[in-house]
């Protein structure tokens, strides 16, 4: 790899051991993936910051790094393993919470911005079209690549850390024009309305495209930010999609020709395909737990939920997961009270996939509007899932059951 003088200095240890080690990691990856130079990045969104994911090994590593390095570019923190303020009330174990706070502090010593959210783009970390960044958290990666048109590979905790410490990533993968073209074509032949509908499409597309680049055509009504959020999270979890295009809507896909050409035979996504996905997540009966906010809810979704629960009493537990900043705004608007009065919980900084544990709550079933949550719930916490749209989720929480 060609390195600039500054990059060579980092590699030679002029800025200390951690910078050197970080640059070594990036150079090695660059060589494995055939990069011939480094790219300067604008910012980092770091995954792997839940102590449940990082473990003691990660904690030790990050603490070691924080002794002699700081971040060269802004780094926002992804969803952590606890609600940093209300962890006790929610019932997360103290030992875990202590470790999580140590891990967060180690990051923050290096300059991390404690957004603690998988929607950093709603919380002040807004990459620009065409800008190179180093992001982890698969749903955020899919959003920033596809919807904003910035450029990142799917970074893990260690590479995100190295990228923030050096301000560099090797030039390969989705940083390069030639890898941003579509590989699979999906033609939508039904009307998509709710976030759940987009999640179902995402699940379908993820299974189809794996880690490649699906192109979606046939969508006629412009997807909202929340629709895109749901779509990307499902694409990235059912598959490992880091970039997708929606013809006519995402910025790199003005036409099908522009992203995939005319020679690819489309796979059809119609009502039958839709129903087939839904059948995988079709629990009926008692529902213990309802989860909204995977990815973390926007203020618009927060309001929608508050409007649905206002004045009701919920039989199921309800988690609305979001960032502290969105929560505070919602609090000023009265929505936090609406949800809490109905018996729901606002959970900040974390989510059921990345949190310390859910087992203390003894839940067996979960309803959610998130394809990602439905995908992970059974494996992680032995929760039988049902995938519903938002108002059906709230109705389920009110009734304590679904579909009987």
């Amino acid at each position: 790899m060609r390195l600039t003088a500054e990059e060579q200095k980092m590699l030679d240890g002029a800025y200390g051991e951690t910078v050197k080690r970080s640059m070594k990691v990036l150079v090695a990856l660059g060589e494995i993936y055939g990069a011939d130079h480094m790219i300067e990045i604008k910012n980092v969104h770091s995954p792997g910051v839940s102590y449940r994911v990082a473990g003691n090994a990660g904690l030790g590593y990050v603490e070691d790094a924080s002794k002699d390095a700081t971040f060269r570019v802004p780094l926002t923190l992804n969803t952590i393993g606890i609600d940093a303020q209300d962890w006790e009330k929610i019932g997360f174990p103290e030992e875990f919470a202590r470790k999580q706070l140590e891990l967060s502090e180690a990051y923050e010593r290096m300059g991390a911005i404690p957004t603690n959210s998988c929607t950093p783009y709603l919380n002040g970390n807004l990459p620009m079209f065409g800008e190179h960044v180093a992001w982890g958290e698969s749903s955020a990666v899919a959003f920033v690549n596809s919807v904003i048109g910035a450029r990142t590979n799917r970074e893990g905790g260690p590479t995100a850390l190295a990228a923030a410490i050096t301000g560099r990533v090797p030039a390969y993968g989705y940083h390069l024009d030639e890898n941003r073209k579509g590989t699979h074509l999906i033609r939508v032949e039904m009307e998509l309305k709710t976030d759940k509908d987009f999640a179902v499409l995402g699940y379908f597309g993820g299974k189809l495209a794996g880690k490649d680049v699906p192109v979606i055509e046939g969508i006629t009504r412009r997807p909202t930010l929340e629709n895109f959020k749901a779509l990307g999270a499902a694409l990235a979890s059912a598959g490992a999609v880091a970039l997708y295009h929606v013809v006519g809507f995402t910025p790199e896909a003005p036409t099908r020709q522009a992203v995939i050409g005319d020679d690819v035979e489309p796979v059809i996504f119609d009502q039958a395909a839709y129903d087939k996905v839904c059948a995988k997540f079709s629990l009926k009966g008692n529902v213990d737990f309802v989860v909204l906010g995977c990815p973390h809810v926007s203020i618009v979704e927060f309001e929608e939920i508050a409007n649905l629960v206002r004045g009701k009493k919920l039989k199921s537990a309800l988690w609305v997961c979001t960032s502290r900043m969105v929560r505070d705004l919602a609090d000023r608007m009265g929505f936090v009270k609406d949800i809490e009065d109905a018996g729901g919980e606002i959970v900040c900084d974390t989510c059921p996939v990345l949190c310390a544990t859910l087992t203390q709550r003894g839940y067996k079933t979960v309803a959610t509007n998130s394809g990602k949550m439905a995908h992970y719930a059974p494996g992680l916490w032995k929760l039988q899932p049902v995938l519903l749209n938002t108002w059906e989720c709230i109705q389920t929480a009110i009734d304590g059951k679904w579909g009987e």
Partner: protein, 139 residues
Amino acid sequence: MSQEKLLQGRCIVEGQVEGEALVTNDAISFMGTIDPKTGYVIERKHEIEGACLKGKILVFPMSKGSTGGSYMLYDLVKNGVGPLGIVNREAESIVVIGAIVSGLPMVDRIDISQIQTGDYIYLNATEGTARVVPKAMRA
């Protein structure tokens, strides 16, 4: 199989070490599969469940799973129970990062079917070579 072999691969992390091979044909997801205090493989039904990494040349096709696996390798080495070096069929970023940050010599592009647990390996990662002395010859 009882002949000394020189396998040529590609250098990932420089360095020279020698030691006994611990071989698996399963991909390894470091996170959650190894006890970082002892170096023992604790993943149920893994091909090498119960084996200890400490002091071994770890031979496996590739890494998989959570990227936190890189940290696990670092932690194992820091705790003095990690492997001495790594031989892969195909270097994947998780183990590459782990090997770099913990300073473990590593090569890839090695036909690992040529190596068995108990063989003795002279790993010259700088040159990209693994000289394998079969267990049979050592016995």
